[in-house]
């Protein structure tokens, strides 16, 4: 048994009472009592007459309406048709028609798609395996460094930050620490965050974005070169050395 909400039960009871009080509202005045509003009847009648040749029998529409009215009016009295039934005894009504595209966003262009399984998952699986294999094999042959126990009193020469910070350390040799360690990386980070809001060009075609592409490449190359210099071309005292002459001063 489905639960019928209380307000609906009340509404049904009220309708039943009303039907009892004024029993079978006079089948005689059927056309007038039709549940179709008078002005709509009027309109359809007019339409019918104007569509048909003026000579055609104009009573057609009226006759239908008469019949409908009779059914509706007769309904409650006979008890066969539920209260509130529409013309022809329907218990549902068409309230409105929502055309596609008015409420929902209908994608007009179908996108060319493939199934994630197996097309994407298989590729991901292979990539993950290859990545594990690479790390595994590399780890068998190359060992992670473990130098002597940390000693705060003995500064190694040179002392280097992890490689991804060596660009910054490299800039320390050129600028005041405040500029090299804070201002420049800060500006860089903020510029990076703001990139999507600064770049107003809507196209993602490489040929339309030559400026953005160049400036980003220059930016990447700038850091890559600094990191490479800091990693391989800096020796004791963080002085410039040539790795093939003086050897490597670099630990990962």
């Amino acid at each position: 048994m489905t639960e019928i909400p209380e307000h609906l039960l009340k509404r049904a009871a009220a309708a039943r009472d009303k039907a009892k009080v004024e029993p079978a509202p006079a089948a005689e005045e059927a056309p007038g009592d039709s549940r179709i509003p008078a002005h709509l009847l009027q309109r359809s009648k007019a339409a019918k007459t104007s569509k048909d040749a003026p000579a055609a029998e104009p009573a057609g529409a009226v006759a239908v309406a008469d019949k409908v009215g009779a059914v509706v009016a007769a309904g409650p009295a006979e008890g066969g048709v539920p209260i509130g039934a529409g013309p022809g005894g329907h218990t549902q009504r068409l309230l409105t028609v929502v055309k596609s595209g008015t409420i929902q966003d209908v994608k007009a262009v179908p996108v060319d798609k493939v199934h994630t399984w197996p097309h994407l998952l298989a590729a991901e699986f292979v990539a993950a395996l290859a990545c594990t294999a690479l790390t595994f094999v590399f780890s068998i042959f190359v060992h992670a460094p473990l130098l002597e126990l940390a000693n705060t009193n003995q500064t190694p020469n040179p002392s280097k930050a992890p490689w991804y910070f060596l660009g910054l350390q490299e800039m320390l040799t050129m600028f005041h620490p405040m500029v090299a360690g804070v201002t420049l990386p800060g500006v860089g980070m903020i510029a990076l965050i703001l990139a999507p809001y600064l770049d107003r060009n809507p196209s993602n075609k490489p040929e339309d974005r030559k400026f953005a592409t160049s400036i980003h490449t220059v930016h990447l190359m700038f850091w890559a070169v600094l990191v490479i210099i800091g990693s391989f071309f800096r020796g004791p005292g963080f002085n410039f050395v040539l790795p093939w002459v003086d050897g490597l001063f670099f630990e990962l």
């Binding site: 097309h119 590399f138 060992h143 280097k160 910070f165 620490p177 360690g181 804070v182 809001y197 490489p206």
Partner: protein
Amino acid sequence: MSKIIDDKPKPTIGDRAKDAVDGVQGSQAWSSVFRPGSIFRKGYTDSPRNRSYVIMNSVLYHLHPVKVKRHAVKVSYTLCLGGLSFFLFILLTVTGIFLMFFYRPETTAAWNDINNLQTSVTFGLLVRNMHRWGAHLMVLAVFLHMARVFYHGAYKPPREFNWVIGVILLMLTLLLSFTGYLLPWDQLALWAVTVGTNMMGYTPVFGQEVRFVLLGGAEIGAETLLRWYVLHVLFLPFVIVIFMAIHFWRVRKDGGISGPL
């Protein structure tokens, strides 16, 4: 009589194996683990309907839609870099948990623990190596992922905010790598972190204060080691997982992968 029995073809090992597999895969326990459409279920056949079910009826639905744009599965588009960053994170979590069993974040114990791990724990050296090289590889992968996103203009509307999440992920990745760098407590760790944190101290207004809180004192010491350990194994992984979840969710909500170009 005996002839009739002999006529029955003797089941080969292959037949027996197939029966056994069918028996297991048809059992209630097995079917309760693998939902309808799973490739591990009995009688899986390759049909469009089952291809959809593989995703829709499994936990993978949290990561992937049932269908993706055709160009998005070309390795040449993403170069798998975002996915590999994520996968390396998983690999680092697994190897990192292994390392945690043998490591104490105390200045008197840390170096010895690492040394013992390498010399007397089975696979200890291998797992430590994988953790270290995996970490460097992840930093590299995230950098390259960012570069590929930039060159594809994939940060343009509606993906601006996912780029911002990405920059946060980049910083978290660097912080994870940097906090881990200190833990072996050797000369390399101590002095690399000294150089790194000295730079931070130059930040105006709050630089010194932040440095003091992070180091647990004016200089690197026992407090620093404990703090960075907690940051490295608990706090930062927790935060980065949350941001990764938002990152992946946004990739889908922004209409999947960008492009084609």
